[in-house]
Symmetry: C2
């Protein structure tokens, strides 16, 4: 669940959302997007938790790899469906990870 | 749950963790830390979700306000207890939010 990322700098897309009531097609699409992202160069992985409220963080090598993902045709359709149907509201933050620290017992 | 943040740039501390079995004192401390953070200048708020796996994102005005929070005496004790008792593992990422986008239906 904790994504293994290289030494900073790298990027994180922080996506916080409230899901709507009509979730038809949502799970299949979310699963497909997770698979699809893996084929993208510069994708490091995703951490996500949630039910009604959702936090989803994906990690990327650089701005270029994030833009390529944003513009993936299948992903663009999913983004549109997200706005039309699955999300009541969301906020997406593009952030540059400058430092990180890991702890394992 | 979605924190209202000013226009970028600002900072996010992305904290992803796996909780241990012995959670005695954890809930009280987590609640107290949420209250304590509010007294800190430059603190914008926190988004967190999770049970066994936890994602916690706090938003801050700048590096200085994050450092002051990290060095708060009561928070330092909580951080030590977190390592000794409550967390199996965690990763903390300091990131600078460069752009954001909000959607409300």
């Amino acid at each position: 669940m904790i994504v293994e990322t290289p030494s900073p700098p790298y990027y994180a897309i922080i996506f916080t959302a409230l899901l709507a009531d009509d979730l038809e097609g949502y799970e299949e699409t979310a699963k497909r997007m997770r698979e699809l992202a893996k084929d993208h160069e510069g994708y490091y992985g995703m951490e996500d938790i949630g039910d009604k409220w959702e936090i989803n963080i994906s990690y990327w090598r650089d701005l270029e790899s994030m833009i390529a993902w944003k513009q993936n045709a299948e992903h663009m359709i999913a983004q549109e469906n997200g706005k039309k149907q699955w999300y009541e509201c969301f906020k997406m933050r593009i952030s540059k990870v400058e430092r990180d620290y890991s702890f394992v017992k």
